[in-house]
Symmetry: C3
Subunit: 291 residues, 3 copies
């Protein structure tokens, strides 16, 4: 799978366990995503304390035909200290063949599917052996269990190291009008150079954009509100439009249970933010104009 097969907005299910929904409610939400063209769902083995994949799988089991209309993304590589995993003593990373294969098999079982569309290594594992991990990827691909591979939160040199051994289709990173590190540290330059589209988590600053009282958030909020009027959209839509303006064509992950939030995310795809407005938001975030 090419990452461009992901929908332009991805639904993140990070918090699905907290929604305390019935399987039927979860299914309804999935359908609402699909109706809006949000066909890709972003999981990780550890979300909800190792419970979200099963919650999603239960809902999907109520309407199995939906599987071929969606793309399932999950992650592995983090070992949480958790009642669900009593053997873990310390939070650690593991990209050994044994752990990755067992994690994938478990994700397939929980999600109730025979394949993942995209598997991401959740965090850079200092002990990762690139050759060994590439072999694991090839084996999972040959077995039809995983269609494509990527990483999350990897630095430029960490990404290059694994990409050289096995083609990666994305680096899922944090980026928002409140968190611009990836713009300057070479991460997005690497995406452009390799023709890879980044997936982006916390594209609204994890909610800070709308609730935080610090000066940065206040400045950005004011400009978002002004632009929202100008573009006849909501501030959330404008914040996502800011992200979508980057030439690497980022794919934002929306983590909300609210239908309105899904609509606001999709609306951002139709906003053609001007470069000058993009820099006006940059300035509000940084607290000073461009050099």
């Amino acid at each position: 799978m090419n990452p461009s097969n992901l929908s332009p907005i991805v639904a993140g299910v990070w918090r699905m366990a907290e929604w305390n929904w019935t399987p039927q409610q979860r299914l309804r939400w999935i359908e609402q995503c699909l109706e809006r063209g949000i066909t890709s769902f972003d999981h990780a083995d550890i979300y909800g304390g190792y419970t979200v994949e099963a919650l999603f799988g239960q809902a999907l089991a109520l309407s199995p035909g939906l599987r071929h209309r969606m793309q399932l993304v999950t992650k592995c590589g983090i070992k949480l200290v958790h009642a669900q995993r009593p053997a873990h003593q310390v939070k650690s990373y593991d990209t050994s063949a044994a752990h990755v294969v067992a994690s994938v098999d478990n994700s397939l079982r929980e999600l109730g599917t025979d394949h993942l569309d995209l598997l991401l290594i959740h965090r850079p594992d200092t002990l990762m052996n690139p050759q060994e991990l590439a072999q694991t990827f090839e084996r999972l691909h040959r077995q039809g269990k995983v269609r494509s591979f990527g990483v999350s939160n990897h630095s430029v040199s960490q990404f290059a190291l694994l990409h050289r051994q096995h083609p990666l289709v994305t680096n899922q990173i944090e980026c928002s009008v409140l968190q611009m590190k990836a713009l300057a540290d070479g991460t997005l330059d690497q995406c452009l150079e390799l023709g890879i589209r980044p997936m982006v988590w916390s594209p609204l600053g994890g909610g800070r954009l709308f609730t935080a009282q610090d000066e940065q958030a206040s400045r950005v909020r004011a400009v978002l509100q002004k632009l929202a009027q100008e573009y006849r959209a909501t501030p959330a839509t404008m914040a996502l439009a800011w992200l979508l303006r980057h030439p690497s064509r980022p794919i934002p992950i929306t983590g909300s249970q609210r239908v309105q939030a899904l609509d606001e995310a999709v609306a951002a795809l139709s906003i053609g933010l001007s470069a000058e407005h993009w820099y006006e938001l940059w300035q509000a975030s940084m607290g000073h104009g461009v050099p």
Copy 2:
């Protein structure tokens, strides 16, 4: 044009508007540069609030034959909020085809020339689309309007990104015995690796070297004065000789209106600074010896 076609010292006209000179005085200064082998002139569309290119062009018009004895460098990509550009609401960057082409056409008109020898993108534009900008460069080159292309103030990954799409002949950066960031962050390593000569702005620390009272400037000044006696030169000449000693063969830009400053810059080309003296100045700048 290969950047080695630039003269080893370049005259910067950043402040020409502040000199309050007649066209005849400006012409005389240009001739004095040429007489000293300073045949390249560094412009930007925005210098003097969008006025310097025209001031230079007026002088050149008094002696049009000088054009073929000089190289004209200019920059674009910054949009200032300025009375001359009432449409601009926020200081921003723009590397779209429309803006770059319009800026080049305007520079040609103001300078009164049919071609630029070198066009630089003034600052890294986060929204820059490398493929699109490379196509713009090719079009400007094909039309005979611009002979060669480069950038200014670009990081290593930003430079690589564009260089991969279109060969760049230089990265114009800040570097001086008071500002050594480019020595350590890979910028000059990249120049060496690619065989590209950097142009250098503020090679005398923007004058801070001779006026600032802080400890760093005081330490450096003391060593420059000692070495000036030893090499029978001025402190300014020694500061430029320090820069010229780097193996990437930097091309310093002198921004002074004074003939004596031009002479001091040219004199630096004949100083063979010893490595030990180079490190003595490094130590004075850092406030500690090498590790």
Copy 3:
């Protein structure tokens, strides 16, 4: 020589002058290293104020047959201000052909050998001309004086710059459970990418691990002691086992005169530290868990 020809633990003689030993005692220590499979010895021209190479050479002269059972590594490029080098006015670096060749010739003379197995440039020299230095390396190799070349304390871009001109077999860097910079700044990623094994100085934090009273050292020490019991080894062995676990297969340098320290270092080669324990030490060093 391929760096894999170095022994998996290298003996560093940095402090040999301080040991105040007779040539016979030094010979005995060398034999004790060899008996344990520590067959590579790490020198630098400047160790002991330009005296250690000769101290080692005097011992080796007592048993010249040992030379073909060991690998000699030395470094050059730093010029100390020292009574032994009255011409030096300022501590500086020098990678000119003249200095490197003279330094190698002197090292050969002091060590009483006809060749070095590995020559390292001790610190990155900003004035280094990569082409010129590569030619110097080729000349020294052709003359049979030096079998292979590397660097020490070089950044990723500094390493790449010289490696492109002449293959380097190692980057000798600092790394330990107390000093993890090389894990995150791309240095070890580069080693993995190029298939180059790093040599590692201060793998026990320069002794800080066992003596320092700060919080970081205290936290790490507590975990090392716990793991030492679990793996039936000493804390020093566990600290080296932590380093050896990295996929770049680092080669630690032990700088101790004590036979027990040599044994503890060799013992680390047989410890298969678990990934979880590796991260437990990471956590103790950082003061927080992995993200």
